[in-house]
């Protein structure tokens, strides 16, 4: 059925976002971008789900608020890392 084909898209997007998150990157920023990609895939999923059950989009807005908060927290940690290390390369981790 056409409805069930769309679940594959969500799971595929989510899985790819996770894959990039756990892959070896040079920059930290790529990891944060993959996190935002996962958030985007969940946003899409949530949107389609809420349409199918004829529910208003309030829950989607609450989800968006918290995801954006988390994204901005990630960015602030990136900024604090660049302020102390000078770059956002993963190779500059020597403490832990």
């Amino acid at each position: 059925m056409l409805i069930y084909d769309i679940w594959f898209l969500f799971i595929y997007m989510f899985f790819l976002g996770n894959l990039i998150f756990v892959s070896k990157n040079k920059h930290l920023f790529v990891v944060l971008l993959s996190l935002e990609f996962i958030v985007l895939s969940i946003f899409f999923f949530f949107f389609v789900l809420l349409i199918f059950i004829d529910y208003d989009m309030y829950m989607l807005m609450v989800f968006l608020v918290f995801s954006v908060c988390e994204g901005s927290l990630g960015l602030s940690i990136l900024v604090s890392m660049i302020r102390s290390y000078g770059n956002d390369y993963f190779q500059s981790f020597s403490m832990l």
């Binding site: 999923f45 918290f66 604090s80 403490m95 832990l96």
Partner: protein, 340 residues
């Protein structure tokens, strides 16, 4: 006398501490899984400012690693909630979705297959932040775990927790990493107690956090982070005795306070006929007690160096030491008077 949590250089951190306490309450008392996710998010949002200090390289790296693992876990948790909501219409707990939800919650707690960030982060935090990480941050994932868990998966995770917690601590010289692996081991006990009853988990958790509080307050007052700092010549004998009592209590040796929750959990293990699991619980406890006794025995016998001046906080705080020793020794006996 002492106000650990209030000894902060920054009063903004009190604000974040309050929000962190509140977020756990949001998470465990919500009507839907979405509310649980919101509580976990607010928890992450409020804990990161407590541990990050942008003037210190170590704490930048620590807060980065903490953020990455926790955000991945909570976003996975939300996705699994949505999959559960859309595709599963029954309440059968033995399916793959419950495994995925439990996995993301275990990653938030620092439990066994996902524990690799935990000793690193504990190494990078101060003692009070460690206390928050080891006790309060475990409450909301545990209670969420009790709402929807897969029994077979969790039993496998318990075994991994116990073995990794006990064998991982054998080669450590840093006190923080030692307590981190001990915390992973105790997570195994706590996950099993969740499977029995939430009341039993609460009992184990309260006694465990009391024991961790006594140990961490001792290390905080002595400003001790590594094991070679235990071999000081002019450390008071009662401090070392208190260390002995607290370590043995944490390991679960009988006359001390830490034996009681483990005793009750063993009783429940045997009632439910988990005989092989009981064997693993016992043997890994033995390994943990081995390396605690190794530390304390060395600390009593060897006195390598003499400090020119000792930390003055200890001399005014012997009341804490005596009180914690008294509680650790006599709790088992006094508890029989409570339930008389």
């Amino acid at each position: 006398m002492f106000f650990f949590i209030l000894i902060n250089n920054n009063s903004n951190k009190m604000f974040f501490l309050f929000i962190m306490f509140f977020s756990t309450l949001i998470s465990i008392s919500s009507n839907s899984w979405f509310g649980c996710w919101i509580g976990l998010e607010i928890n992450l949002l409020s804990f990161i400012p407590l541990i990050s200090n942008s003037k210190n390289l170590l704490s930048v790296e620590t807060s980065l690693k903490y953020f990455l693992t926790q955000s991945l876990a909570s976003i996975n948790f939300l996705f699994m909630i949505l999959i559960k909501f859309s595709l599963l219409k029954n309440f059968n707990m033995n399916n793959i979705i419950s495994i995925m939800m439990n996995s993301s919650l275990l990653m938030k707690m620092g439990s066994a297959p996902f524990h690799f960030w935990f000793p690193n982060i504990v190494e990078g935090l101060s003692w009070m932040n460690n206390f928050m990480l080891m006790t309060w941050q475990k409450i909301s994932p545990m209670i969420l775990l009790s709402y929807y868990f897969n029994k077979n998966f969790l039993i496998f995770m318990i075994i991994m927790n116990l073995i990794i917690g006990s064998l991982g601590g054998l080669n450590q010289t840093s006190l923080r990493k030692l307590l981190a692996f001990s915390s992973i081991n105790n997570l195994g006990w706590m996950i099993f107690s969740i499977m029995i009853s939430e009341n039993l988990w609460l009992f184990y958790f309260l006694i465990y956090s009391m024991m961790i509080f006594m140990m961490i307050s001792l290390f905080f007052l002595m400003n001790m982070y590594f094991m070679n700092q235990l071999f000081i010549n002019n450390m008071n004998f009662f401090i070392k005795l208190n260390l002995l009592i607290n370590f043995l209590s944490l390991g679960g040796l009988p006359p001390f306070m830490g034996f009681m929750p483990k005793w009750i959990i063993i009783k429940f293990l045997l009632i439910n006929k988990f005989y092989f699991l009981t064997f693993i619980f016992m043997m890994t406890s033995l390994i943990i007690i081995y390396y605690y006794i190794r530390i304390i025995y060395s600390s009593f016998m060897f006195n390598y160096f003499k400090m020119k001046w000792m930390n003055l906080l200890m001399k005014n705080n012997m009341l804490l030491i005596n009180l914690s020793s008294f509680i650790s020794i006599s709790s088992m006996i006094l508890s029989t008077f409570i339930f008389m």
